[in-house]
Symmetry: D2
Subunit: 393 residues, 4 copies
């Protein structure tokens, strides 16, 4: 492997997403024949014990307790940001100024303005930039994209998408950082909604205008642990205010005339990872569900009458994007492979000199939708997305 | 059967819904042990040949070419209205004034005002009144209702409901009456949306406010046949304007705090009868789909950890409402049984002197939602439903 | 309807199957445009109270307490037999000798010899004869047949079929007639196995040889009620021996080279009516499940690579056999419609003078498979089916 | 990681299974907190170019062109055998004699006798031995085992299992090694049947006797490539005889009284990896399907009447065996994780000094079933399994 180009990665943060990214860097060279490979050079975190253990466990060659050190280090080519959302902007901008490529978790920023500053920074620096909307990279979703681009669905009329969870329904679940707007920037909308907005932009096109509603079902929660403990429960006399939404739903018009309905919720019992969409076009329809992410349901209107129905396609064939790099047909992939595939695109983008998507322009456009939805909730009326984005260029 | 009380029915109209109602009256005594039975006394329609053939085919004892004759006849107890929506009000009011019970297809009226007049008329006359929202009467939906009423779901947080079809997507499909607002009163919203609004009111509660969007994807269609031909296609130089929506989606707040998303469309490829809902509550969730209407998916949060998942319940057990009147477990029912079951409720209401639901008050409340959605589309903002209904009492 | 030819039916027996048949006769003229209609002329049963009530409830014009009276009556054209299996032969033979057409519940007889005598009787008399294998008449199964006949599956390699139930698993469920070989002729094999054997013969072809196993999990059961009570449970000191199987499985070679696996069981928890098959051919595959009987899963190998998958076809389109006589697409049918459809075929056969299938030749061939399976269990080796049948002609 | 115990692996062979094993060794330390970790020390293969490239690609520290060299090397603790079946015995016995632990792909041997010799060798040497029946290690299957062991299903009455594929249906697919009995030892029975036999032994218990049938649908195939090319197709004038089965089905009695039906086939269109089972017990039932391997369908008879149905459990919760080592609930795993999990068990077995299962005793018992099935096909009658195995001890 000596002749391969190495991209030395410095990752800021090391919790759930850090684990997913680390694994992807490790696994990518095993599955893909690329002339570029990522090197797990260094990981940064404030807690020395924690970062040390994480580096050891996940295979990072070194660690730092200050992310600024990562950026100063000359042996780092790419900064990967998996920290809470309120830290993204500062790190991205510093990294870009230092000439590092950046790979940032979603949502890109706390606000549209901030996202635009980040985009400006990476453009000015001329570095490669990418946002980690990993679900685009499920083979089934990539195949959906291919079908749409080939015109197999014709004009798109509808998308309905949800991202539903239920891990937060216990009123004694603590007030973790994701529930504090100043840290997270938002609740289910930014966390889950950002994913389905990205899928919709990827598959259907740009949003034109939106109107939404938001709800916080449990207004106060126990103070205590700030850790991102998905199973925790705290008995505490002290309660703090939840400053983000527990659920958001919104309607959308797309620029191409399609209609969309979107819903993100952490109060949907029985839905552990209910990231799903259905798209209806003139000539066909598609359905996808992350909990069985290998399957794409495809309906084609030009199927012979009597033989029309949704096909359940297990997207593990060599015809399905990325699937050929893994196992034989019918031998399914999991969640982690979406990260391996996005790393593949990131590596290709860096080595071949094109801007891999979703990049920070996608991040900005996504943020524009998030902001428009929030604004529409406050103003109780439709808010244009296009104009927010057009200002951009 | 001599000792059974007979309810002599006069039905106005005889097409698709007339067929469903006729069959239900015929089949009801076979399956149910009731002391009241419907008698297919007379059917009315303007076209003599047509009504005669329909009476003969469907088993009506006599026929009339003017619905007013039905109302004059003393041997008729109940007027059943299955004509286009713009005729409902006049027939209902005349029937009520003549002291006949009324059973009316949905949507009840062309407007909320009209619906209120109809309600006033039946109340003043003291006759029994019911709107034919048949999907309530699927055993699976009735069982859903039972679970919710028993508190098995706890507080309701979400409902998402759709009614999706695809029979109208050909641009050469003719401008039938359903596509002309002056006859139908509305497009998918009144035709399909009214059904899911009824299911939501039945299962979740009253709507508080809504905001929606509407679209007519094909603006002009061939003139020619006005028949309700679901498969037709016309080549014609003359085209007329489609004055109703091809698709409507809306968001809703419910009075009990639940959030709802709703969508009706005739442009959703592959969905022949995509009448579906998911309801999420504090303690459980439900899913239903009309295309497999015997099944109810039930998730219960107090299931043992590790054993939590949606159960697919084939609602053909004797514990499931109405199911015990038919076949053994696992021997499924179809679309037509929803009508037999609603006729059962109608017969019981008439003979036992209570107001069977959904009655015209439900019709008015449904119409209030329809009107609020339309208004919200025009004003591009949220519109209250409660106040429209409160005016009522 | 005056000009329609009437087939006056006399039905012997009136329990579960009597109900299904009665309903089908009543409903057939509503749905089908036939020049022949059945008339519910008379029903026979030994218990005067019971038969009287049944006649009244199900709409039979008259009743008899001795089935021989039905056969003597000149106003009866067709004898329909829905009594326990040990009575079929005598009634069929008497009816045939009296020149009545016969429609008999499955399994046709207690033994292959008996079945052959019955076939001989109807042939000699020149009457129309049919066995009530109703599942053939689900639109989805008929459509499966059409696809196979058109060669869409190519050469058939495999069928795997089950009919699984769970209503008998309680050891205190009583020793009803179905559990006594002298009355029923057999257990799950004759009751459930006969159905899947018929489906296999219909769809795949003739059996060549079989080898099987049988088990009676609960050897003794409470004596008491002999009624066919599917939910009953008896506490009784007296227990009698179960003389039929609780479960049977067998392997089969077909004459066309296909392989089959078959299983019937009343000890399969969670399976209320698990009548299912999968058929694999050179060019495609099919799957069907009675608990969702409207759906046929179809896989076609010549689908474009990447787009290959089982299609879920809701067989309610006008292209699907029989479906066009009922409701619009997506508006599903139920169990009872399989009986309406078989009655349609019976009426056509009688009025048009052809032998409707499955007829008594099918009954004999079915019985040959049943007998071969039983013999194979006793001899613990393969038993030829073809030779048993060939002796026939 | 310095303090961890290292198990230095030498792997013989490097194709499909070699890839799956290599990946598992690499990924295991990332996901599991074990005090023992595997080291990818050396890989062996006859083709120098091939083995070199494989070593490089998959991360093996060194390579050999003769497997005997691996066994001689003192820096190897464990020999992993992923070569064609006719080589297993020689390598295992040599490895055991050299005191190496052994991990062998299935089926263990070409014959029961050979398998017994292998077992004797590893027992005599006192080394750890394991057969790679990876499907046992899907979290859903492990959870099924747990439910059965806890008595949640009660007495088991039935298992029906299949492993269906369709990659071999083209008559021009070449005569690869898997189709030559002298190399593979058998066709679908050894390749696929061995897996479902293992699942049945794991979940239900020991086989008592079997009777089966086998078929080779395509008798001759093109000579040419011997590579295990799953997509290949060869046009060649020369054809050689296929000496293994294309499909096998068999019936089984289990020692505990359960009945089983089993089927393996490479001629089942649309089934890419149709490894499925249903188990029915006194108190509940289970269903599993490898193509959606995260899901276990569970039916519990003590669920409340009316609420009884199969639950679809996405076995990604921390309550599900192994699942807690990976991702949050609803974030699914794939095929490769079954290998990571079996490696986990292998590492634990070696380091903690117990015999991890499935071990070579399981391999022998599995081989006894395979042999009994083959014998039953030849003798056309039932063949006892127990006696074959009892001879063993």
């Amino acid at each position: 492997m000596k002749s391969k180009k190495q991209i030395r990665v410095g990752m800021v943060g090391y919790r759930l997403m850090g684990r997913a990214h680390s694994h992807a860097y490790r696994d990518f060279p095993f599955y893909f024949d690329s002339d570029t490979i990522p090197v797990l050079q260094a990981v940064a975190g404030r807690d020395e014990e924690g970062v040390k253990a994480a580096a050891d466990k996940m295979g990072w060659a070194s660690w730092e307790t200050d992310w600024r050190r990562l950026i100063e280090r000359e042996d780092i080519d790419l900064i990967d940001i998996v920290t809470p959302n309120n830290t993204h902007a500062e790190i991205v901008i510093a990294a870009a100024e230092a000439g590092k490529h950046v790979f940032c978790e979603k949502p890109l920023a706390l606000s549209l303005d901030q996202a635009k500053q980040m985009l400006e920074a990476v453009k000015k620096a001329g570095v490669t930039h990418m946002v980690c909307h990993n679900y685009r990279f499920s083979p089934a979703v990539q195949f959906a994209k291919k079908l749409i681009e080939e015109g197999r669905l014709g004009k798109i009329y509808h998308i309905r998408a949800t991202f539903l969870q239920d891990w937060l329904m216990d009123p004694d679940f603590p007030l973790i950082w994701r529930l504090r707007k100043e840290v997270s920037g938002g609740g289910t909308l930014g966390d889950l909604g950002a994913h389905i907005i990205d899928l919709a932009r990827f598959l259907v096109g740009e949003f034109s205008e939106v109107v939404g509603m938001m709800e916080t079902f449990i207004k106060k929660r126990p103070l205590g642990s700030m850790t991102d403990n998905l199973k925790g429960r705290i008995e505490s006399d002290q309660r703090g205010e939840v400053t983000v939404d527990d659920a958001t739903a919104f309607l959308a018009h797309f620029e191409n005339g399609a209609l969309g309905t979107f819903e993100s919720s952490r109060f949907s019992r029985g839905n552990r990872a209910g990231n799903r969409f259905e798209i209806n076009g003139e000539k066909g329809s598609l359905r996808w569900d992350m909990e069985n992410l290998n399957n794409l349901q495809v309906y084609l209107a030009d199927d012979e009458p009597g033989l029309q129905g949704f096909r359940t396609i297990n997207c593990t064939e060599e015809e399905h994007p990325y699937a050929g790099s893994y196992w034989p047909s019918g031998h399914i992939l999991g969640y982690e492979h979406t990260f391996i595939n996005i790393v593949s695109e990131l590596m290709n983008g860096i080595s071949q000199g094109y801007s891999p998507q979703p990049n920070f322009e996608d991040g900005v456009k996504n943020q524009a939708v998030l902001e428009a939805v929030e604004e529409s909730v406050q103003t109780r009326s439709w808010v244009g997305v296009s104009e927010k984005v057009h200002v951009l260029s």
